[in-house]
């Protein structure tokens, strides 16, 4: 029965994706495009080696952001502040990393450490406000996003960047030295002809494992999940809600700090005004899509990256590429609905099975 239950939960995303494709087909048909031809173009473009590398590179920060959001979700906390948390961490670690000369391993470790600590601290503010002042974390993290953006703009333009007169260069930190850059995996995999596959993808795998271990295997994770399932029951079992709230926000923020590592040490090597933003919000989508499960979120991140990448070809073929955004949204909506349907089915089946053995007559 355990197996069949797992199988049923797998049905939810599959069902959702089929429905999403159905709806997208309908939409393409309505705007007068050939749906099958459109999907074929997207698929053909998406499966090229160049695209695959790009998809994986996109997936890495997206996945880590989803993990950061999911830690909060497991405890019933909605951390919308991953966005400013990772941007703060990225800026400070970029600024510090550029000023140092260290052996590569130490240098990279230090950058990661600074990013994690900064982001965890930024997230802890929201936890503290919730525990001490009763401010809902959704409100505080949204506000902290605004404040963070302001602080970042100030620091970047006035502290970490020396404006040269008459220069038109956008504000940016100094470039990271070689020793602070994480090498690509291309040489290792023998795919030198393709664009760089960034090395931090291995880090992402480890992050997934650590997330799984913390949440599902440790007693701290048990406290988190218990609080997410029933705050009162967790409290009566001895969990300390105040401590847990701050801790969960810090762990969530700590993971958020890792979101910027791949772009920073892999292809940007500096923090500029066009450093990738919006990953914090995209992470919420991926966490929903993957139901906070480490593998589910990995698949979700890859799926969304694939859609984004393969949509680039549509413009060239005169198909409005907005269709990709619509597909994304439809997939997320249908996954949420399908999961609810499956959950009800499983619950009802369990109640039915239990009532068979539960009656006294």
């Amino acid at each position: 029965m355990k197996f069949s239950l797992k199988l049923t939960s797998l049905l939810a995303p599959v069902f959702a994706i089929i429905v999403a494709f159905g709806l997208s087909t309908l939409m393409l048909y309505l705007i007068g495009e050939d749906p099958l031809e459109t999907f074929r173009i997207m698929y053909d473009y998406g499966k090229t080696g160049k695209s695959l590398v790009s998809i994986l590179n996109r997936s890495v920060p997206l996945y880590i952001s989803a993990v950061a959001v999911a830690v909060g979700f497991k405890m019933g906390l909605f951390n919308i502040g991953v966005e400013s948390q990772y941007l703060m961490g990225s800026l400070l670690s970029a600024a510090l990393g550029a000023t140092l000369a260290l052996p590569s391993f130490l240098h990279i470790s230090l950058i990661i450490f600074v990013a994690v600590i900064t982001s965890a601290f930024w997230a802890a503010i929201a936890g503290y406000l919730k525990v001490k002042k009763g401010v809902h974390e959704v409100i505080s993290t949204i506000m902290l996003n605004y404040i963070g953006t302001g602080i970042i703009a100030y620091l970047l333009a006035n502290i970490f960047f020396e404006k040269v007169e008459l220069s038109t260069t956008a504000p940016q930190t100094d470039l990271l030295p070689e020793s602070a850059r994480i090498p690509s995996l291309n040489a290792l995999l023998g795919i030198e002809e393709l664009p760089n596959l960034h090395g931090f993808i291995i880090g992402a795998v480890f992050i997934g494992i650590i997330y799984y271990w913390i949440v599902w295997k440790t007693s701290l994770g048990f406290d988190l999940r218990a609080t997410g399932s029933s705050p009162l029951a967790a409290k009566f079992s001895g969990a300390n809600p105040a401590r847990l709230t701050i801790l969960a926000m810090m762990i969530s923020g700590g993971f958020a700090g890792l979101v910027g590592i791949a772009p920073l040490t892999g292809y940007f090597f500096k923090y500029t005004t066009d450093f990738p933003s919006g990953l914090g919000f995209a992470g919420i989508t991926v966490a929903l899509l993957g139901r906070n499960h480490p593998i589910g979120m990995a698949l979700g991140a890859i799926l969304l990256s694939f859609l984004e990448r393969s949509a680039q070809i549509l413009d060239l073929k005169d198909v409005p590429k907005e269709i990709e955004k619509i597909m994304q949204a439809v997939i997320v909506l249908t996954v949420v609905v399908a999961y609810e349907v499956v959950k009800r089915y499983v619950t009802n089946k369990q109640i039915k099975d239990a009532s068979k053995v539960g009656s006294y007559d």
Binding site: M1, K2, K217, T218, S219, L220, G221, F222, D223, R225, A226, S229, S230, L232, A233, A234, K235, F236, S237, G238, A239, N240, T347, N348, Q350, I351, K352, D353, A354, S355, K356, V357, G358, S359, Y360, D361
Partner: protein, 503 residues
């Protein structure tokens, strides 16, 4: 006399259960008809069908000799049927008048004609001699008065047939007396009353006729003059009635818990309890009786470290545990059966094998050196609890929410006892569960006590308190007002201390 209600062949199945099996029932107008049965006997299902909340699979309903077909409670109300639920559906911040007329008019922008309504309500309260001030606020009312509001609310909607679902569950004996007087007045004015209960003494006292249900079937309908309590009980459960196990005084002297001069911290200018003194010895059950809201809940929670204290000492064994947090107190050997199993005792959407960990997730019982949870251990122990406490479940992978209330409670009690505590705080350990589960829990509590467990028992079930406790205290307005020997205590005596009539 005419028949108020005639049910023929009513059947209703849920997946896996036949909740009502060919029920035939005739109820005379102007009588009080009790329906008794264990939880799960099908009483509530039958009443829900009669009130239009559920649709029967088979069978027909006649109200005052006319066949009816209810699609919703609205239809039932229009035919003169009203129901007073066990849990009051009242909002604290409304007045009595507002509560009674709530939901009667379709929402519109018209100004409410309150004085018209208030006159009509006063007529009803006079007619049935159930005094009530329509202008008082709900939160100023006692439990008995709130119930009166619910009854008048139903009468105001024109009910000729009144269904009362376990109306005495929340009342102390004095309030029960008052309710019964009101019901007799209603009966004399021609109202038909269906009285659902499993308290046989009360049923024998108030009802004209009694129908017994068991396992979804209607066993018999008898006149209340012609049947004894034992006969009713045997009909109800098909065997002898379990009673709270008899006490055998224990001679152990070691004190497990002493509470010295304990006062709660002020919340909103009120202390839940103050200057509480008592102790519990090894192998002793100490019961605390009190009307809900007199500080007993906070007292229990303060011993577990949930509710904050202002002064006094809590000493477990030899150790002062004032400064320990809840987790450390559980570690030092306190187990806790919370009053609400669903929100406080279980993770409803989680399997039993994980639920067994709850409360011990940070103890070496389930936590390894590297702070990993020992799921193997949990798997094993959950099966032990399921087996020893007769939890009826397909297995330990079943989610807690799938079990019936009685089985959930057996699991919670089993988990807490199997954790081998020194002290067990049991808050309402058998509230709202069937007799089978109740008698199992009583036996297990007695067994654990015989093995030296100290138990603090807090319960609204006075028979349970008298039957299980070695010593009894009454708590009233946050003070322990009386210590009683359960040998000489009766529900009436307890009730008079609980309501402050005696002190």
């Amino acid at each position: 006399m005419t028949l108020a209600i005639e049910l023929s062949n009513i059947s209703k199945s849920f997946p896996g259960v036949k909740a009502n099996d060919k029920i035939n029932l005739k109820i005379q107008e102007g009588t009080i008809h009790a329906i008794v049965g264990e939880n799960g006997a099908g009483k509530s299902t039958l009443m829900k069908i009669l009130y239009g909340m559920l649709k029967q699979d088979l069978g027909s309903i006649k109200i005052f000799d006319k066949e009816v077909n209810f699609a919703s409670p609205k239809d039932a109300i229009s035919k003169g049927i009203g129901m007073v639920h066990q849990h009051f559906m009242l909002a604290d911040n409304l007045s009595v008048l507002e509560s009674i007329i709530l939901g009667m008019d379709r929402a519109s922008l018209k100004v409410l004609n309150k004085s018209k309504y208030s006159d009509e309500i006063n007529q009803i309260t006079e007619k049935f001699s159930m005094p009530l001030n329509v202008n008082s606020m709900i939160d100023e009312l006692g439990v008995g008065e709130k119930q009166r509001v619910e009854i008048i609310k139903v009468l105001f909607r024109g009910a000729k047939i009144l269904i009362l679902d376990e109306p005495t569950a929340v009342l102390v004996p004095q309030e029960v007396k008052e309710l019964f007087n009101n019901l007799k007045n209603l009966k004399d004015s021609g109202v038909t009353i269906i009285f659902i209960s499993h308290k046989l003494d009360e049923v024998l006292d108030i009802a004209d006729e009694i129908s017994v249900m068991r396992g979804g079937k209607h066993i018999d309908t008898v006149s209340s003059n012609s049947v004894s309590k034992i006969e009713l009980a045997e009909m109800m459960i098909g065997q002898n009635l379990p009673s709270p196990p008899k006490r055998e005084k224990q001679s152990k002297e070691k004190i497990i818990l002493s509470i010295n001069n304990l006062s709660a911290e002020e919340v909103n200018g009120k202390k839940a309890f103050s200057s509480i003194n008592f102790s519990i010895k090894e192998g002793e059950v100490v019961g605390i009786a009190g009307v809900e809201g007199n500080g007993q809940r906070e007292l229990a929670e303060s011993i577990l470290g949930i509710h904050k204290i202002e002064s006094g000492e809590i000493i477990l064994g030899q150790e002062n545990i004032n400064d320990l947090n809840t987790r450390d107190r559980r570690e030092s050997g306190i187990s806790f059966i919370p009053e609400d199993r669903q929100s406080q005792g279980l993770l409803m959407d989680v399997s039993l094998s994980e639920n067994v960990i709850l409360g011990k997730q940070s103890s070496s019982k389930y936590k390894s050196r590297y702070s990993n949870i020992k799921f193997g251990e949990a798997d094993k122990n959950s099966n032990t609890v399921i087996e020893n406490f007769d939890v009826r479940t397909p297995g330990n992978e079943t989610l807690a929410l799938a079990l019936s209330g009685g089985n959930q409670q057996k699991f919670v009690v089993g988990r807490e006892i199997e954790n081998k505590p020194q002290l067990l705080i049991a808050s309402q350990p058998t509230r709202g569960i069937d007799i089978g589960a109740q008698s199992l829990i009583w036996n297990k509590l007695r067994l654990a006590r015989d093995h030296g467990l100290g138990v603090l028992l807090i319960s609204a079930d006075l028979d349970e308190l008298i039957g299980l406790s070695d010593r009894l205290y009454v708590i009233y307005e946050g003070n322990l007002v009386k210590e009683l020997d359960p040998e000489n205590a009766t529900p009436e005596i307890l009730g008079s201390y609980m309501t402050g009539i005696k002190s």
